[in-house]
Symmetry: D3
Subunit: 159 residues, 6 copies
């Protein structure tokens, strides 16, 4: 059985992430979506909210797990017996950063391969950061995230 990890902050999950998960699902027998719990960078949604939004988006899909990620990605991958780490590759700045991370991870643990998938071109320039920015300014984000994520923004902004 071939298992892949798809790591990220998912703050929040976007259509771009879901597109990558679907593509990974065709290449691997199981995909674990690993949500980074970074206590240094402040997230908009809490870890629990981010996990819930992802699980809600992926409801009904077999062979996709959503789990929090605490320590080093490669340790998590080895522990879960994953063959590969999956990353979506968008623009140039992504590419550099992704390469750096992937080479570092390979140095730390040679057995885990990083593979890059290309999201649908209409999601090429989509990012969680820009979705949060548009939401903050009162713009309509329903083309970029599932409807229950739109609702989560509304609830969060009311607070």
């Amino acid at each position: 059985m071939r298992r892949a990890i798809y790591p990220g902050s998912f703050d929040p999950v976007t259509h771009g992430h879901l597109d990558v998960i679907e593509r990974a699902g065709k290449l691997f027998d199981e995909v674990i979506v690993a949500v980074a719990h970074n206590d240094q960078k402040q997230s908009f949604f809490t870890l629990e909210e981010r996990l819930a939004l992802l699980r809600n988006s992926l409801d009904g899909r077999n062979r996709v797990q959503v789990e929090p990620l605490d320590g080093l990605l490669v340790d998590f991958a080895v522990q879960r017996k994953a063959t590969a780490v999956v990353r979506g590759l968008r623009a140039i700045s992504d590419f550099e950063f992704e390469f750096q991370m992937a080479l570092m991870n390979r140095k730390l643990e040679a057995s885990v391969e990083t593979i890059f998938l290309m999201p649908k071109e209409e999601y090429t320039y989509l990012s969680s950061r820009i979705v949060k920015e548009i939401a903050r300014l009162g713009g309509n984000i329903s083309n970029f995230v599932p409807s229950h994520v739109v609702d989560a923004f509304a609830r969060k902004q009311k607070q």
Copy 2:
């Protein structure tokens, strides 16, 4: 009549910005310089100071307005009946970010076109951020910004 919006933080206005405004002025009947009021990112100069520095720099130019920008850029553009958003394009990292913003804006409002202009090559690597860094370290910034902006730095640093 064709009207363009030139948005930015202008913290502070540099010769590079003024060069783009002049070029835009030849292509459009009116240019609105829209100064983003971002209450999340701390600016060096206040919104009022940034507006004043720009107006001072553009004094005497017809057909150029300076206005604060509060909400979404595309909403502002539609409200002002602008045909285009103008952006200066410098280096590669710019290019990626600018493309992302422009595609997002097009998704949000298809009627507003983003056009990219190329500043004078001697301003290619000029940015407000680097000007602030040089000023902070006591360097001479008079080649990069108008003289009244040099004065504004001096006043600000005395405080």
Copy 3:
């Protein structure tokens, strides 16, 4: 009146080119599509064929002319009293080359401004070169070029 030049080899015209022409048409009163006659680089379609395919694609559009371009672009622009040269900006490699050309043109003739437009994202990675490659290998190019260009390929390949 503001007139723009949109130069290229158009070997052959693609949906990406037509998208840029349409966008330019909203910003300028007249657009001249200038087809480079390069006797050094062998083209697949002759200059006459490329002009005809463009004219056929643009039939019925006012304010768009198709003309051959023989000498220097900036001389042509000055002669036609054009304010601007329009270029579609796609990927990174484009960006570098386009910048180089635009700076050179500015050195040769400061009065002509180059402006960059962003084609629809689904055309971001479309190029005449790749269309010719797919056609050569027997692939279906009908998503990338107008139907009369598909026919032109068929006629050309029979020869």
Copy 4:
């Protein structure tokens, strides 16, 4: 069973290619190395030589086939029931070109996914083109290609 295609010109095969093939072999049940027969671009080694050099390099590996590729890559992939096309991703210029090809292939055939793998960093800047250039100038290429490819260069250059 999951099968992947690894296409290229392999003119000639380098250690970088072999590294990608090995990585792909861990992710897929079978890998078909597809050698493009491009009658437009002149190759240094003939198609037959390139196939032989690859087969010699891969001798003894199960689950790796070497085959000529004549038509469109996606048609070949569908015909061979391959789930994925594998590409090694090296530097920036690669990235742009690879993205363009992958998006085009997806347009032509949505069922075939392109995945990108990262060769060992010491092969990051290795290419067949540069190996040929060094061999032409009499340099030592034994760090870049298998020894039987070094021999093939020697035989070819004697002709």
Copy 5:
């Protein structure tokens, strides 16, 4: 005598930095490693710690000095009679930023030349930032920094 400045934050020094220092040492008669004291950006190690870690790493090397850098780099270079500023050039994002800084420094002081060296390829994607991230998550950083820097992390994290 030719003297070069190698500036940076060195938070902390990595094998990549030491590699650049060694290369610079072959090109210049003396190298001054200048450690930026940036009171705006919070560093992990204090200025004193960063100086000590560098000096410890460079112990026994003649013709290499380690000094704090307070004001503008170019002022420091002129004061120390340095001919050149040395920078390691890694990936694309580096390149843009480095170019911007180098052009600005040239504008501020034309007599100081910036030269770029290429670190060993296995250090191409190494950075202090990523080392700190791995250490924070409990990963093994002994391939990336000298052993006394590994110890310094351990001491710091105990606090």
Copy 6:
């Protein structure tokens, strides 16, 4: 004594090349400009013409030699006891190619260091190729090359 090699095709020499040579002259005791004799790529000026145009441009400068380069660059560097290879770094596409060459050269001969210098920003986008293109179309190239190179174009084009 520190000697550097500055290799290239110089077809023809431009103000950008001369700017790099001058900068290299301040960092090294001697600079050898090495003109590649590539019998595979057709040059506009012959090797002899390119050597003569360079020597004419550099007339009166001590410590700069102009020589043809036939074999591998690193062999030439070792033979001439050069410490470094100097390259001008312009735009992104340059960067990738230059990195690839520099890493290859280091693999072939570790003792030769490649250093990158940044030409004056007004020469950033200047290249021999674009100069030839402008000359071919009858444009004025006197801002880009020395006057005797302008004359050489005129003589060549009369033939």
